[in-house]
Amino acid sequence: MGEAVPVSLSHRHEVARALRGFLPARAVLFEEEDTRPYECDGLTAYRQLPMVVALPETEEQVRRVLQLCFSMNVPVVPRGAGTGLSGGALPLGNGVLLSMAKFMRVLRIDPRARIAVVQPGVRNAVISEVAAPFGLYYAPDPSSQIACTIGGNVAENSGGVHCLKYGLTVHNVMRVRGFSIEGERLELGAEAPDAPGLDLLALAVGSEGMLFVVTEVTVKLLPKPQCARVIMASFDDVEKAGNAVAAVIAAGIIPAGLEMMDRPATKAVEQFVAAGYDLEAAAILLCESDGTPAEVEDEVARMEAVLAAAGAVRLSVSRDEAERLRFWSGRKAAFPAVGRISPDYYCMDGTIPRKRLGEVLHFIAALEQKYGLRCPNVFHAGDGNLHPLILFDANNADQLHRTEQFAAEVLEKCVAVGGTITGEHGVGVEKINQMCTQFRPEELELFHAVKRAFDARGLLNPGKAVPTLARCAEYGRMHVHRGALPHPELARF
């Protein structure tokens, strides 16, 4: 990426001037030094300076920014904290980058109704902080929760380490308000259950900022469990660890969290945060129970028995809250820890049926040999969501190229075993080619039709998440796999 999109200076100034008609000068940025911080999100391999950055503070200003862009035919890319890992907030050189960073207010906490009404720029962790005095919290907890915003979580349908039991963003958001690209106000969902009509809220969550711009969110708050304990189980073989995950669930237990890390990952983490992980183990599982003290005691005992029977060579249970948080600190710091042992890393996000885990891990190990690149694995074992991290050096063009090939093979394998290319990070620009592997042209066509229902001119975050059929045809031509061209029914150019 990074190739310049030709934009005339006069066009840039015309758009900026029009925005300054109703936004203060400080809320409209177009000088390179000011727009530079917006050139990428968490996927830093892709960069592009936006034509103009707009930072509205009120819903009325958002409405006017959208209306203006619609009338001037200027594309708009919405952005929260910019922590996304798939390039969903990558700017367009001919577009307005709409930053929602100033929407930072918690508007209402209603402890009796167990809801919080917040602006989209509120950080995920802040919601739980403000709900804590009422014994409540917001359940989805992506690892980036201290930085990522709820608006971004809605756009990506973010998960976290507790979503097997407590659900993803889509399960914990009740209502959103926002504006279409034409500046029309939309209210999806409700504080009452089952809003009338089609479930547009479910459609909007995870739509990667392509359908409308969110300006207000009502989330569910849950009562904070009285206590939680986590078991750290060591295995001398990754496949055994994978089977232990299935055994826990087959025993009728839904752990509050169930995470797996292989030895390369625990080694990286241990140097970084000293979480107390067993470095002898080929893989460790973190298996958490929460609830009342009696419930937890009972569940931990059952979990220990299942894990031992599944071949765990060592089991330790957190003795207090400090130790529990220490065990988790390593998992939550896995990405930055890996960032310290390699100049760059490429994080994948495929999800697979749990029973195929051993096969997929062996496949990844073989690719490490094939491409000569290391790949530690951390993953949300409970819900089959893998985060293999390919280590590379972006300054080495050949390594970058091999990394992309490596990642593409892993994602296609996830699809082949009945899974998906992305469990929680989104497609963005990063996995757009692999969408051609997961979906057939008719399905992609329907996605485009859904997009047109909300945004007929395709001005909101265009080019992300759903590939054009032409792009898939092109990708298919380059990527013959399993001996056959994908989409043989499609006309080739």
């Binding site: 089609l198 409970g382 997009k451």
Partner: protein
Amino acid sequence: MTLAALQEQIRTAAARAAPLRPRGGGSKDFYGNEPRGEVLDVRRHAGIVDYEPSELVLTARGGTALAEVEAALAERGQCLPFEPPHFGAATLGGCIAAGLAGPRRAAAGALRDFVLGVKLIDGRGRVLDFGGRVMKNVAGYDVSRLVAGSLGTLGVIAEASVKVLPRPPAERTLRFDMDQTAALDAMNVWAGEPLPVSASAWHDGALYVRLAGSAAAVQAAAPRLGGAELADSVAFWGAIREQTHPFFAGEAPLWRLAVPSVAPRLELGGAQLLEWNGGLRWLRSSLGAQEIRAAVTRAGGHATLFRAPDKSAGAFTPLDPGLLRLHRALKSAFDPAGILNPGRMYAEL
């Protein structure tokens, strides 16, 4: 019936612009506005395709009897956590198309929360796959959840994958003598505490609270709440779920009011039965639809005319113009000829 035969029937209907009414067991023929068009019987496209308890996922064809699905799950100690009503010979496809959930909804989630993927035949007769068989999947728009509760207006559910969960090992129901206001208060307070409440209902001066979870959790929570233990918990909740409770008998129109759970008691000229911590309020009333809808809208909710001989007022609360426009645009994306269950949800769709 094979998938190809269903596709063919839809293609033919689309070519003739002839309305079709997809139908499973017909158990929810009463739901929504009057069905129109020729019946598209999905029952013969049936059977469980894949069920692996340790994956917590079951995949079955749309025409599979809901009872068969639940029996297969029960055999392995699992369940559909949203406790959908059967109302007769329900099918899995019809269950998802209707989107209705039962007593455990407030604790476990809505039906759409458990839909992981669908194989859909759209209004052009194309077979389309959305979502999948894994818990987390954000590739493409979440069409499977959009289809949940769409009343067959977007396509025919040929196959669906749902997330399932272990059945709670222990269950106990407590009964309290309380008026509606006190019950609303109690339900909302308890829902905010870390208690294993899995269902709540209030009717005629009595509040019923079901605890479910591990034996240890249920045992620890029951004395904290007090009340009297109800002898036949399973039968009681079964009667609420299937609407065989005496409240649901008789001819008076049955309204389904969905409101924020903390909305105060609504006086609407008839008996009420509350569920979901007060978020769902069943009403038997002959008051005018406009009056009922206005009151419920003021309370922040919406009112569905659930069972009634006359649905000329429209089964569902009307949409505002912006949302209606979106609905129409989506409808034409899935069903350009407008043949699938026209008018069942809204006259304009």
